[in-house]
Symmetry: C2
Subunit: 525 residues, 2 copies
Amino acid sequence: MTTTPNSRRGGRASRTAMRAAPLTDDIKPVRPGMAAGRYKPLTDAEVLKIHEAAINVLENIGIADAIPSTLEYLLPKGCKLDANGRLLFPRSLIEHTLEIAGRNFPLYAQDPQYDMEPWGTNTYFGTAGAAVYIADYETGEYRESNSQDAYDIARLVDRMEHLHFYQRAVVPRDIPEASAMDINTCYLSVSGTTKHVGTSWVHPDHLEASLKMLHEIAGGEDKWRARPFVSQSNCFVVPPLKFASDACKCLEVAVHGGMPVLLLSAGQAGATAPAAIAGALVQQVAECLAGLAYVNAIKPGAPAIFGLWCFVSDLRSGAMSGGSPEQVLLSAASAQMAHFYNLTGGTSSGISDAKYPDAQSGSEKGINHALVGNAGMNLIYEAAGMHGSLLGYSLEGVVLDNDTIGSVQRTIKGIEITDESLSIETMRAQCIGGPGHYLGAEQTLRIMQSEYLYPAIGDRLSSKEWKEVGKPAIYDVAHKKVREVLDNHFPSHISEEMDANIRSYLDIRLPREKMLHPSILPATL
Amino acid sequence: MTTTPNSRRGGRASRTAMRAAPLTDDIKPVRPGMAAGRYKPLTDAEVLKIHEAAINVLENIGIADAIPSTLEYLLPKGCKLDANGRLLFPRSLIEHTLEIAGRNFPLYAQDPQYDMEPWGTNTYFGTAGAAVYIADYETGEYRESNSQDAYDIARLVDRMEHLHFYQRAVVPRDIPEASAMDINTCYLSVSGTTKHVGTSWVHPDHLEASLKMLHEIAGGEDKWRARPFVSQSNCFVVPPLKFASDACKCLEVAVHGGMPVLLLSAGQAGATAPAAIAGALVQQVAECLAGLAYVNAIKPGAPAIFGLWCFVSDLRSGAMSGGSPEQVLLSAASAQMAHFYNLTGGTSSGISDAKYPDAQSGSEKGINHALVGNAGMNLIYEAAGMHGSLLGYSLEGVVLDNDTIGSVQRTIKGIEITDESLSIETMRAQCIGGPGHYLGAEQTLRIMQSEYLYPAIGDRLSSKEWKEVGKPAIYDVAHKKVREVLDNHFPSHISEEMDANIRSYLDIRLPREKMLHPSILPATL
């Protein structure tokens, strides 16, 4: 997929690459989409109570501000407008929706090796967000994020083993016009990675323009529709319980265009959702069920992700706190709600309130991912790089979070219990007439690659060795890894011809040469 | 319990103290010893398989190197020496032991408010360890730990809301003689905190001397026996499956002396325990069951903690990796084994392989505590300050880890599901004719203290505010908090008279004046 100048040289560089090559899939201790679910914050009875309360909300409080087309789709299905102009959803419609809703749909990637099967309790981690600041690679200071960052984050994620998809993480603030911003974000995303991409559009026209491009990249509309490799992150609802008109229009275009939709209910407990975690769960479930009814009224069975993305406020200030333990509970319980409906669920996990990767962010991300991951949410968004309560992005954070996610995946894999792994014969051999330890035991050597996960950058040196190598700070190690990727990894799956073609009819702002390795640029540059 | 110069002044200082005063117990969002158990890495059938394998090991492989007194206690109970001199334990003895074993015994503290009830799935966090290095407060560099550190860590833990007990965490390397080291460590621990203390002794004579002191502090042997506030951390076994002679002698003294014993099986998967996590579980369970049989042969029902403390190797180097995901699984599954037996269980969680508090240590501690805590281990040791794979201690880490543990405790508390918390009426009031948000809602104001936990030092400022206050690094905030405690908190529960008395017959090395606030030292010092 990737061409770097080094890969052409062979010799020492290629031997180094070979030693650093990943384990083959059959021996890897973790793999994308492992089944999780050993952590359950709610009992089955509690899950049912939340479901029933959500139905109650839909039947009796309903959703405000439906646009005409929403009404055209939903009134014939049994929805009613009440005296306040709120759209009420009968239980029977929700139950019918749950019968016909799309399930077990893969999320495709440009490179099929990255296709995802986000159903059951299969669990995938990826980025997301709309940060407007990024910690500048050179200065470390927050500055506004731009198109180059959007592209760089995509290609960094492309090389992170434990990030399984890429959803747009920063806003390219160098593009003020909404239309160009939407289209460029989409192009930079699909150019920067061959993993599944998520992004958003603020107006249906921008989405139509992007779809044309996606058809071309796919090799035709039929090929796009067979393997749609971009999903739409869609805030169809403005919590509490109001439809968002432009987003609803984009939703309709996506559903007609064969693009999977992430139905995002992104309230904030204590601000736009009830402060009580149970109530926040009820509201987001009600909103997403309404969205699901809408999608299925447009096209029965259309792929939609149940996006239970309620955030949490620090109630002292009203500000968002993504790293709070209340956020952990909300996101983890959301996984159980998705399992209850047997729908593909998505939520956020891994946002830090710290401004940079540090002991606080590590802790917040570790706790969130450990519990949301083990709760078995299918798609875990915002999983890497996100700081400053969603406002600040860190490239170094992406590399650090990759290790955190890998570690959490190892816990998801769990403990293998077999007659062999119970190790009675191994114990006997080592203890009776054996060496009295397991260092060179056959079992130890056999499972050291398949059952033990080693961090990509995490430090496990002895303090003596660590001193000898100059006491590298982990942030600096991550920083170096970012440079290594950004200096060398320039995905080439979008050909020069395709790029030129797209630029001929779309206003792509990042110059082509900023997307190529410096050494293969024309000499005149 | 505490006298600081400030508390005598009143006025502004006391108002400040009042504002900073903790919430009353009835409103606090978390409390010590909350019931956990919503994360279960093993199925019930798998737990049973591990139990059966452990019985198999005890019946057929047994434990080597029993000392004469161990044999005197255990041979009459049905144990047998095999041809290799290994002590074999019949299933019937283990089953009988499990019938008569001490259960539901509190672990007492000098201050009864800190008494613990570590049974069921009640979960407590505290320190432990035998680090030989500490990051010096002034220079930040690792240096050998000393008596002053041992005392300072105890009084720092005494002020950390989410640390529920204090087990000795560093070795006072300024005391080379084992006898003085044991006795001083015990005295410094019980002087530095009124929370429950754990420590260890390498020789029974040191323990006898310490017990005399503990009787005096308690106000008599009967009072000590009624409320033993120190437990013995006892490595009675050298994995794999060998008794440790001096530790066994100390064990006997502790049991006779009414001191709870932490039966520590501290192997290391891949080195002194099988590399397969299942096998490591089996071996440690077998070892602890043997220890439990031993304790109950000495004194039926004597308080003993089932110390499933197996560590993990990085199999590439053989070095210990306390921050690994394999460690998480071992420690969390250990909680389930303790629950299976309905015994008070202990394990380690929160060791970082990083040398200092940083993004890596935060992540390792967050993942470990989140899952081991939610697995519901009764006593979680090594929970704060431990770095360098057990070799290096950090005072700043204690303060940071306190926030991590608080956050994990909030997840353990879980989600309150009641008709009120489901919030249907709150939603109706805000959405229909209300303000359309929950910022000032009655529910929001009512639960902002009781359902939301705020970090003690964690940063949740907006990036703008954070910039305005000078972008404080979280490590520096923790550093300042350490200074604040160490400059002001000098526990005075051991009176001057008691201290003088103890020093009259024990070789206490840390001068009394190093245990007092500078301002209340005699002027001549």
